[in-house]
């Protein structure tokens, strides 16, 4: 008999790590919506943002700045780095590749991944750097209801909060601002958007910048959890099934998909893994995505693509 307390604990832990997947998946969705580019480099962007932040933070603190000033400056510096990256990518890779097919664009982002990984580690170093922005204490909830209570990491709660704020912010940005509306116009039809005077290069720069900033947010949370290190880039691969489940074009889909994947894989690992040898986490998300693809190819929230195959 599985204790309800354990089940809830695993579920909550899974949902919270799902939030982190969602943060990475969000960056994918933004770029895919606006330019149809399947951005493999999102994981590398998280790494770059994280490294820029943690290294500048260390440097500033070591030079005697108070912590809050260091944090503000560090985040500002990382944001500037992401802006430069976005500009470079738009100017030198995505811009010249306009009108190529999806596969070529996808491969070019893998090329970008290599460059970002190499450059980030060469400039900022390649060790594991601990980042302490959020409390990582543990709360025990409902101790009166379950023996031992339910373990909840404070960091996970912070992650959930931040993801919520981020989605709300993005929703406002897309719905209310002029740039946001231009973005949606470009996503709808490049040609039409251009002909009504929307500067497409600028819009793509903004998209990559926003994706970079989302990567920065993801990096702060992931970095606090695991330390900023190279293995963060593998997150990009975990975000792919999240996207498929949620739908490639849907921001809420990325969030819900992340939650499903996070909770699903943790539950599968704990309650099924012991029977078939463990490590299910490794592929569970992908097989789940495969199942979703067969039943509902557009994902849970994606736009229905009417296309004969």
């Amino acid at each position: 008999m599985i204790a309800l307390g354990q089940f809830l604990e695993v579920l909550i832990g899974g949902l919270m790590s799902g939030v982190l997947y969602s943060l990475v998946a969000l960056g994918f969705v933004l770029i895919f919506k606006a330019s149809g580019v399947f951005n493999f480099a999102q994981g590398a962007m998280v790494l770059l943002a994280g490294l820029a932040l943690v290294r500048s933070l260390d440097l500033l603190v070591a030079n005697g700045f108070p912590l809050w000033v260091a944090i503000v400056l560090g985040i500002g510096f990382a944001a500037v780095i992401m802006a430069i990256t976005a500009w470079l990518i738009e100017r030198f890779v995505i811009g010249p590749l306009v009108n190529q097919n999806a596969l070529t664009l996808f491969m070019s982002t893998i090329g970008v991944t290599f460059v970002l990984e190499g450059a980030a580690q060469m400039i900022f170093g390649s060790d594991v750097y601990p980042l302490r922005l959020f409390p990582t204490d543990i709360w025990l909830l409902f101790e009166s209801h379950f023996p031992g209570g339910i373990l909840v990491n404070q960091l996970d709660v912070w992650g959930g909060l931040i993801a919520g704020i981020l989605v709300a912010g993005l929703a406002i940005f897309f719905q209310q601002t002029k740039t946001g509306r231009a973005l949606r116009a470009v996503a709808d039809d490049h040609m039409a958007a251009q002909s009504v005077g929307i500067p497409i290069g600028w819009i793509w720069f903004v998209v990559w910048l926003v994706a970079g900033l989302v990567a920065l947010v993801a990096a702060t949370v992931w970095g606090t959890k695991l330390g900023v290190q190279f293995s963060i880039t593998f997150l990009a691969l975990k975000a792919l099934p999240v996207l498929i489940i949620g739908g490639l074009t849907s921001v809420p889909g990325a969030i819900v998909g992340g939650l499903i994947v996070g909770a699903g894989e943790k539950l599968a690992e704990v309650f099924l893994g012991s029977h078939i040898g463990g490590g299910i986490e490794y592929w569970f998300a992908y097989v789940l995505a495969l199942a979703v693809l067969l039943v509902r190819p557009q994902g849970l929230f994606g736009e229905r693509i009417i296309e004969r195959i």
């Binding site: 070019s108 090329g111 099934p241 498929i244 190819p297």
Partner: protein
């Protein structure tokens, strides 16, 4: 006026349909095969630099041949049939581990039925080919989703295959014959009583495999089946309307491609690595193969070879260059620089020639046809 078909008259239909209709192409191929089959072994035999050292054979030519074979397999699926696959590494692994199991003897105890399935160790050649067949069967299975989805969605579906099989070979001890470290060693390479051991023998073995499969693939893609694949790639609805069955065309593409990739995987494990663990066939391998195909040229057998050579040799060159130039750099910096240069070159090539080296070659041939006159 070195290269043109003027004056080469064809008098029979068979001649017109020949695999290499232009005489100069035939000659170039013959010279290439001559160098590969006779020249390289001779040079190695006489210890002529750089063929005398094992390094070139073992570290460059051997992986080049095997990965070129795998790239041909990927090219059939991605380049000819237009189905993106990120699971090539998994199919290589399936080929390798099936061949390993068959080569060392299969024993499946079926306790609840009261008997066990036992297959004695098979000859190496047979187990390599059967390994390819096993990969083909799994390839068909994972190809089924392609009937409903395509493009990047399909890529994620094949990614599922990649991660699932990574896990299977890592966690199911049956596949590794219960080796405690999870790493397995190939059986001795015994081909009809001939023991293949030295680098040059291994090279010849791979060369024979690659030549045979390259010719098979070249003939397949210009025949009925290949035309079906290309029709599906170019426009699936139109292909269906003119009577091509998408189910049959797509699944055969998956089967043939996985078979070749599986054989390449078995060769990679048996001939190149000798002993290996599942990490040898990870997602990086899949991406590497996809790069080879795209850089070399989608829908070109020749392109697969060029792509494989480029992707394989570039990192080696980048690695050697700083030491040769005498620039003192730490190994870590070199690795990172390698990443940067490799990535930028990929982007540059994709921007400058999205159709890969194969397109450059065909442009070159067009130019040669007119040379030395402008038109």
């Amino acid at each position: 006026m070195l290269y043109r078909e003027a004056g080469q008259f064809k008098t029979t239909y068979a001649e017109d349909m020949a695999i290499f209709p232009i005489r100069q192409d035939r000659m170039a191929l013959a010279i290439l095969l001559g160098i590969a089959f006779i020249g390289v072994p001779l040079l190695a035999d006489f210890d002529i630099w750089p063929f005398g050292s094992d390094y070139l054979l073992r570290a460059i030519l051997l992986p080049f041949l095997i990965l070129a074979l795998a790239a041909i397999g990927v090219n059939i699926l991605v380049g000819y049939c237009g189905q993106i696959s990120l699971g090539s590494g998994a199919f290589m692994a399936i080929g390798a581990y099936s061949a390993y199991k068959l080569g060392t003897g299969v024993h499946i105890p079926l306790d609840w039925l009261g008997f066990a399935i036992s297959i004695p160790p098979l000859p190496v050649l047979l187990s390599i080919l059967l390994g390819g067949l096993a990969a083909a069967v799994v390839g068909i299975l994972f190809g089924i989703p392609s009937l409903r989805i395509k493009g990047l969605y399909l890529a994620v579906a094949t990614l599922a295959a990649q991660f699932f099989f990574d896990w299977v070979f890592l966690r199911v001890p049956w596949f590794t014959n219960y080796a405690p470290s999870g790493s397995v060693s190939a059986p001795t390479l015994d081909f009809f009583g001939l023991n293949v051991g030295t680098p040059i023998e291994r090279y010849m073995l791979c060369l024979i495999f690659v030549t045979v499969f390259a010719f098979l693939a070249k003939n397949l893609v210009r025949g009925n089946l290949g035309r079906q694949w290309m029709a599906i790639r170019d426009m699936d609805i139109a292909a269906e309307l003119i009577g091509i069955r998408p189910l049959y065309a797509k699944l055969t593409a998956f089967a043939v491609s996985s078979f070749i990739i599986g054989v390449a995987g078995a060769l990679w494990a048996f001939v190149y690595l000798g002993s290996w663990e599942p990490l040898a066939f990870s997602i990086e391998r899949s991406l590497q193969l996809l790069f080879m195909v795209i850089i070399g040229g989608l829908g070109s057998i020749m392109g697969s070879f060029i792509g494989a050579a480029f992707i394989l040799i570039l990192p080696i060159m980048l690695n050697l260059l700083p030491t040769q130039l005498g620039v003192p750099l730490s190994t870590e910096t070199i690795t990172h620089l390698e990443f940067i240069i490799f990535g930028s070159l990929i982007c540059y090539l994709l921007i400058k020639e999205p159709h890969g080296f194969a397109r450059l070659i065909s442009i070159g041939k067009e130019k040669l046809r007119l040379w030395p006159f402008p038109y």
